[in-house]
């Protein structure tokens, strides 16, 4: 009796193998990037970049410059979820979001508002919380169709670029935090397509990060260029590998430094009803190019360089503040949270007026820049010794 039962039990294992959620890799359409554009009638157009596994195995070596590894499909719908349902009817494999690391909003979509679509990205179990978010200049779908020369597909290009911290890097979770946070503002990296080298190579180009899109209350209100983005990133403490080239006072030529370490502190204060934010930054770097006639082994000269270095960062920060704080009035630096942490009671009273307070917050910058190493040579590399200025 027992033996029969045991056999029965063991046979039931055959049916308990988790067959319901069995998914074979060749039943999946792996999405590598998605673009969300605005369409007519308040609809959206969802375009996805689908990876073609066959192209990878067949085309290795033979197609050096961007043979089609991916294909782009799009569908219109009332929301992402609706568009996916339509899209699925055009793709023979099951759409799989687990490897989608890039989501791009079209400019029109961003201006209309991204809140509704964000909900899908955080609610659906498949999209990864670490996927990167972008806004594209013009239509987002065109970015996906590009065939870049260096990377396998275009979404990989912008993802790699973000990883180098060339522009801002914002993941789904971070964007959610920004949108739901106290400041009511958000910022996403803005990408554009590099003009192709010539007409014949129409699509063989790559996207690049050109600046930052600024959001207020979930809607894009403006954009800032690459230079101001630097300033924003300085304030947010996100600058990593970026060379600062500074012009020195009363000296011909420029000096370039590679900042290697920077440390930003926000010190909020409220005095007599005046909200004030002190940004303390400490940064250090190495000289990588000296286009002037200054002697880089002289501490006096280094002081001059440090000063110029400092001035340059201050200018960038000021530029960012001018555009973001005074023109767009969007608190993408999240001053709101800093005030809330330091002055919870005052914040509670003022939080409904934050939109009016923020543009009037007085920002004081206190920047210390240090040159740590002169590089491999001390004297200017291209001029005779007599012309070097020592004082």
């Amino acid at each position: 009796m027992k033996r029969i039962l045991l056999t029965l039990l063991m046979m039931s294992l055959l049916f308990l193998g988790g067959c319901w959620d069995r998914t074979e890799i060749n039943d999946l359409a792996i999405i590598t990037g998605a673009a969300i554009d605005a369409a007519d009638d308040n609809q959206i157009e969802l375009s996805v970049q689908v990876f073609i596994p066959r192209a990878l195995s067949a085309g290795r070596g033979s197609t050096s410059s961007g043979g089609n590894l991916t294909l782009v499909k799009s569908a219109k719908g009332a929301s992402i979820a609706d568009a996916i349902a339509l899209l699925q009817t055009k793709i023979p494999r099951k759409i799989f979001w687990g490897h989608c690391e890039v989501f791009i909003f079209g400019e029109d979509m961003a201006k209309r508002g991204i809140a509704e679509e964000m909900d899908f990205l955080v609610r659906h179990p498949q999209p990864r919380e670490r996927a990167y978010m972008f806004v594209s200049k013009g239509k987002a779908a065109k970015t996906l169709e590009l065939r870049p020369e260096l990377e396998r597909y275009s979404s990989e290009v912008i993802r790699e670029m973000s990883d180098m911290h060339i522009g801002m890097l914002v993941t789904i979770i971070q964007l959610k935090e920004m949108l739901r946070g106290k400041s009511n503002a958000a910022a996403l990296p803005l990408i554009d397509v590099m003009p192709p080298p010539n007409e014949a190579k129409g699509l063989e180009t790559a996207p690049y990060i050109m600046g930052t899109a600024v959001f207020r209350k979930g809607k894009m209100v403006g954009e800032i260029n690459e230079k101001a983005t630097r300033g924003v990133m300085w304030i947010r403490g996100e600058v990593e590998r970026y060379t600062v080239t500074a012009k020195l006072k009363n000296v011909q030529g420029t000096v370039s430094l590679n900042p290697i370490h920077s440390d930003i502190k926000f010190i909020p204060s409220i005095r007599n009803g005046q909200w004030q934010m002190t940004i303390k930054a400490k940064t250090e770097g190495d000289v990588v190019q000296n286009g002037t006639n200054l002697d880089m082994s002289n501490p006096e000269m280094i002081k001059l360089v440090e000063k110029a270095f400092q001035q340059d960062i201050e200018d960038r920060i000021e530029l960012a503040l001018k555009q973001v704080q005074h023109e767009m009035k969007a608190d993408i630096f999240d001053f709101a949270t800093d005030f809330y942490r330091e002055y919870p009671q005052e914040w509670k009273a003022a939080k409904n007026n934050w939109d009016e307070i923020f543009p009037n917050v007085k920002v004081i910058t206190d920047i210390h820049a240090y040159v740590r190493r002169p590089g491999l040579v001390t004297l200017p590399g291209g001029i005779p010794e007599e012309e070097v200025r020592e004082k």
Binding site: G18, D21, P125, E129, R130, E177, R180, T337, P344
Partner: protein
């Protein structure tokens, strides 16, 4: 005594740890964040008082009636009929709770991983495994818990380590923005989890070295509390005040791990860990129901009851719970209150009566 096997006090402590934590770290951080906001790390501390209290009470009662479980001594404390009634209440309560625990586990598995699998299959397969563990007796459960403990704890620690670069310590502030009340409110729901240490009232008589029972019970409460504080802080640092909007914060955290572009998507590890934890948790509850109802009905062996009760647990995991939303709603509206009655008030009452009854006796023996 129905149970011939014995476990050590250390084994009991180890066993209780996943019994509390397995579901506590699943959705409780979000519940606590709803009330306590960024003071959510304080709530487990308040809740831990419930844990220490229940261990203390159950140990005191154990000292009065060393060889008996709750079911047996409640008859001695308040008389046969009321005692049986209390025993029935506890058996029924645990039956109901085990149903909910299984449902919670299964909803998590189905909602986050196995989207197409019918939930009854997930539930039934878990109960099937637990049936074998429970039929094996307390020793089997104790050893399984000991075996799974490192497998349960290490991956969680590893995950925290891997996410260290993404943590923002600043989210800690401001501390006690609205005074102490929000964090106390946040402790209302988790105090049920800590109060589940009342299960020790069934386990103390099974200890080989019951003198160490209280020590390990208390240490287990401490470990649970620390783990809960740690997970709360961790989710706060990672997600800021947004924790409250997430159903399973720790699962999302595990998906957020990304080291060097290839070490990512750890949620399957977390899932495996949770299956282990849930297995221990369900087995312990299951065992207590089986032992309790066997003593309640005064049968000679508890093993024949395992299958029928397993079947009942599957049914209770559905009864009255149409969907996940109702489930979470119940957790916050009624569970803390009847749970407080059953895990704190009733035990205290029993202890009080036991004290009054035993006082003259003890004086006599001392004289």
């Amino acid at each position: 005594m129905l149970e011939k096997g014995k476990i050590s006090a250390f084994q009991m402590g180890v066993m209780m740890y996943p019994t509390i934590i397995a579901t506590a770290i699943l959705s409780l951080p979000a519940t606590m964040a709803t009330y306590a906001h960024n003071d959510l790390w304080l709530s487990p501390i308040w809740a831990s008082f419930a844990g220490f209290l229940t261990v203390y009470v159950s140990h005191r009662l154990h000292q009065y009636y060393p060889q008996q479980t709750l079911i047996e001594y409640s008859c001695q404390i308040v008389g046969l009929i009321p005692g049986k009634l209390i025993g029935f209440l506890y058996c029924f309560l645990y039956l109901m709770w085990t149903g909910q625990i299984v449902r919670n586990y299964a909803e998590f598995v189905v909602g986050a991983f196995l989207f197409n699998t019918p939930i009854v299959v997930v539930i039934a397969s878990m109960i099937l495994v637990c049936v074998f563990a429970v039929r094996g007796g307390i020793e089997v459960i104790g050893r399984a818990a000991l075996l799974f403990m490192p497998l349960f704890v290490l991956p969680l620690c590893l995950m925290v380590l891997l996410l260290l670069p993404d943590l923002d310590w600043q989210n800690f502030f401001p501390v006690l923005e609205n005074g102490i009340v929000p964090s106390l409110k946040g402790a209302v729901v988790p105090h049920i989890w800590l109060g589940e240490f009342w299960l020790t009232a069934f386990l103390f008589p099974l200890l080989a070295d019951s003198s160490k029972g209280r020590k390990w019970g208390m240490l287990s409460v401490l470990a649970v509390t620390i783990t809960m504080i740690a997970t709360n802080l961790f989710s706060l640092f990672l997600f800021g005040s947004d924790v409250s909007s997430m159903l399973y914060p720790l699962m999302i955290a595990s998906r957020y791990v990304s080291i060097a572009d290839f070490f990512e998507n750890l949620e399957s590890v977390v899932m495996a860990v949770w299956v282990l934890g849930a297995f221990v948790k369900i087995s312990v509850f299951f065992y207590v129901i089986v032992l309790g109802s066997a003593q309640l009905m005064e049968v000679t062996d508890y093993r024949p009851l395992v299958w029928p009760i397993g079947f009942l647990i599957v049914l209770f995991s559905f009864w009255g719970i149409p969907n996940m939303i109702v489930f979470n709603y119940l957790d916050e509206t009624s569970l803390p209150y009847y749970g407080f009655f059953m895990q704190i008030l009733l035990p205290l009452l029993l202890l009080l009566i036991a004290k009054l009854r035993n006082k003259p006796q003890r004086m006599k023996s001392a004289a």
